[in-house]
């Protein structure tokens, strides 16, 4: 896309991601997002700075957190007059929040902003049942104590059962893993293909930590200094795990599916003018971001939307998959990554689904998730976009001029958001 002006990614900051119910079990979404913001503020000397906007969100959010991002900004070291907005597009929340800020900068509405996200499965909101809510409303409107007691007497034990959020799709009743298991089978994805993705993810992320790649992208929090889920794994170990989705014959395990996680991430985005005035070197430019959905209720693969979104986005930028130096496919499940790669390599999919002459293309494995992804790092839903954008921007900068990177993130509701970044030097 030809943006009216360049949108630069200057850097990012996240807290290490934790496994559900572990390192961050005592803290809230607001605590984590504030910690990630304050780390970014410290790194870029933004104390007391009035920014154009801060966009972030959480997929799982308490009702009282309706202004989660604004509350976090007030609690941070930024100028308290910095505005903020809460956004949500399931697992694409972080990337879409970044898009919101990027677009404002591109149009000249603001000079600098922060995009990001946070999620906690440890502090997930628990709701009361609809039946209890109705009874309480009626009791509230009662005219006498006697009437109120009569209404309350109609309560049944089942009405008191709290309901926790679930990862199930409302219209199909199937959760993410069950949906992916159907797709995994349809695309004939093997256990070994999936375990290989998981193995590489841990290996690559570990290597990135060891060379200090995250030193200027992360601040420790609550005693954690690296992602809690990251481990030294082997193909044998991964191969020994029992399937968790797709029945006893299934190929999806806890090792090749992302764990429930807690964490937060932020990305600093600015116009080139602002970056120059403040002495910051842009790492990458955001060239385009695009979202589309698939009709999974009619049988399309729930997590396949990025397989459509990326070709559409690259086409309108006059680019192909071969032009991509780095490809970041969010590892919701290892099988999701394999499915998207297979779809792009598939002649029939290219012709029938994408309207191309043949297959869209293939991704050399040495360009795929080269510093690991969600299987190793963990996946606090809304925090994943910021993690990937900040890492990819730095990878592009390190790689030098004229390099391109593609980001693909699948999301609930059959959605997918993709992004195109170009190195800024």
């Amino acid at each position: 896309m030809n943006y009216p002006r360049n949108v630069a990614v200057l850097g990012g900051n996240r807290i290490p991601f934790a496994r559900a119910g572990k390192a961050y079990k005592n803290v809230s979404n607001q605590d984590m997002l504030t910690a990630a913001l304050d780390g970014l503020v410290a790194r870029f000397s933004l104390q007391g700075e009035l920014l154009g906007d801060v966009a972030a969100g959480a997929v799982l959010k308490h009702a009282k957190d309706f202004n989660l991002t604004r509350e976090s900004v007030i609690g941070s070291a930024l100028d308290s007059r910095t505005p903020a907005i809460d956004m949500q597009r399931a697992c694409a929340t972080g990337l879409d929040a970044i898009n919101f800020v990027a677009n404002k900068i591109a149009l000249g509405q603001i000079e600098v902003g922060i995009g990001g996200g946070v999620d906690s499965t440890s502090d997930a909101p628990i709701e009361v049942s609809g039946a209890l809510r109705k009874i309480l409303h009626r009791a509230n409107a009662a005219r006498s104590t006697k009437e109120r007691l009569q209404i309350l007497a109609s309560l049944r034990p089942a009405d008191l059962k709290p309901s926790a959020p679930s990862a199930a799709e409302v219209r199909t009743g199937l959760n993410m893993g069950q949906h992916q298991a159907l797709s995994t089978e349809r695309w004939g994805i093997t256990r070994e293909e999936q375990d290989q993705i998981a193995f590489e993810s841990h290996k690559n992320l570990m290597a990135a930590y060891e060379r200090g790649f995250f030193d200027d992208l992360m601040t420790g929090y609550q005693g954690l200094s690296r992602d809690e889920n990251l481990r030294v794994s082997t193909m044998e170990k991964l191969g020994s795990l029992k399937p968790v989705f797709g029945g006893p014959e299934g190929t999806m395990t806890a090792g090749n599916s992302t764990p429930l996680s807690d964490g937060a991430s932020t990305v600093l985005i600015a116009s080139e003018e602002w970056a120059q005035e403040h002495g910051h070197q842009p790492l990458a430019y955001i060239r385009d971001i695009h979202t589309r959905s698939v009709d999974f209720t009619a049988g399309a693969d729930l997590l396949s939307a990025p397989a459509y979104a990326a070709p559409e986005m690259l086409a309108r930028n006059g680019l192909t998959l071969d032009d991509m130096d780095f490809v970041e496919i969010h590892e919701a499940f290892a099988a999701t990554v394999v499915m998207i790669l297979k779809a792009w390599e598939d002649e029939e999919f290219g012709r029938d689904e994408l309207g191309l002459d043949g297959a869209f293309g293939s991704v050399p494995r040495d360009r795929l998730n080269v510093l690991g992804s969600s299987l190793a790092a963990g996946h606090p839903f809304a925090a994943t976009g910021g993690r990937i954008v900040a890492s990819l921007a730095k990878m592009l900068y390190e790689a030098g001029p004229g390099k391109f990177g593609l980001i693909s993130i699948c999301a609930a509701g059959g959605q997918g958001t993709v992004a195109l970044l170009e190195s800024a030097r």
Binding site: K25, N26, V27, S28, D31, T34, A35, G220, Q222, G223
Partner: protein, 288 residues
């Protein structure tokens, strides 16, 4: 003398001792000095309890301890000194009038702290004797925090001849920046996160024998919440002061205002005027 605590004494233990002491000590008659005992304990904050405290007093959980929580950690040590047999003043009925915390740096969650409590500096007050309960917080041999609580022991002459009661200055409330709606269980909730289970804070029934028709909120709840509201954070050198005036009955509404004056956040909490009843100030203080 020095008392070494293997673990922090529970509130129940010290409170029972205080009740026994109340029978024994009558406002320090005859005594002319404090015994000069120290109580020490080495500990680190429990992350879960700290997070619960921080959330209750309206702050964000960072990797640094809320100074109000450090005060709560030191409180049992102070209690253990006040209930010693040779301590000449009765603990029951002591009034927490002021609190000052000076920090040379933020204390990180997980750092091992040595807490050293002492009771010092008896001096005259128009209503009795003022004493300072001091908790020094050491990390690796370096003093990082000093928490000084000023208590009034009514009726005691230990501090010397009592001066005249000064004229009370008129209180003209300004405009509130926030209103705290405190529910009836605020004292119980703060007792849970701070460990201070003094009956005057818990319920109508338990407050009654101590002369309160309704439970009153912990002074350090108000102070800690005010501290949080200033947004100064817990990460650096800090100086925090509070002076308590009229207690806050529960349930209750507190008008609160904080203003920034040259980088110093000043705050005040009060009860709004109602009909004939004038506004009453609950507390004032500052953070810088």
């Amino acid at each position: 003398m020095r008392i070494e605590h293997e673990r922090l004494p529970s509130f129940g233990e010290t409170f029972t001792a205080a009740a026994m002491q109340a029978v024994r000590v009558k406002a320090g008659r005859g005594a002319s000095s404090l015994p000069g005992t120290e109580a020490r304990a080495t500990l680190s904050a429990d992350p879960e309890k700290h997070a619960d405290f921080v959330h209750l007093v309206g702050d964000t959980v960072t990797d640094h301890l809320h100074p109000g929580y450090v005060h709560a950690l030191g409180f049992p040590l102070t209690m253990s000194l006040l209930v010693q047999k040779d301590f000449p003043l009765p603990l029951l009925g002591m009034l927490h009038l002021t609190n000052r915390v000076t920090q040379s740096r933020g204390i990180e969650l997980g750092e091992t702290m040595e807490l050293i409590a002492s009771v010092e500096n008896p001096r005259a007050h128009y209503a009795g004797t003022l004493i300072d309960s001091i908790v020094r917080v050491m990390v690796d041999g370096e003093e990082v925090m000093v928490d000084t609580a000023g208590y009034l022991v009514r009726g005691s002459d230990l501090g010397g001849p009592r001066p005249e009661r000064p004229d009370r200055e008129e209180f003209e409330p300004g405009r509130a920046t926030a209103v705290w709606s405190l529910s009836g269980d605020t004292g119980r909730r703060y007792a849970k996160v701070s460990g201070d289970g003094n009956p005057i804070h818990l319920s109508k029934v338990t407050a009654k024998p101590f002369g309160f028709d309704k439970p009153i909120v912990h002074g350090m709840y108000s102070a800690s919440r005010a501290y949080s509201a200033t947004g100064k954070g817990n990460d650096g050198p800090r100086d925090w002061f509070v002076e308590f005036e009229a207690p806050i009955s529960l349930p209750g509404k507190v008008q609160f205002a904080t203003t920034m004056v040259d980088g110093k956040a000043e705050y005040v909490g009060w009860r709004a005027a109602r009909g004939e009843k004038p506004a009453r100030r609950h507390f004032t203080g500052w953070v810088e």
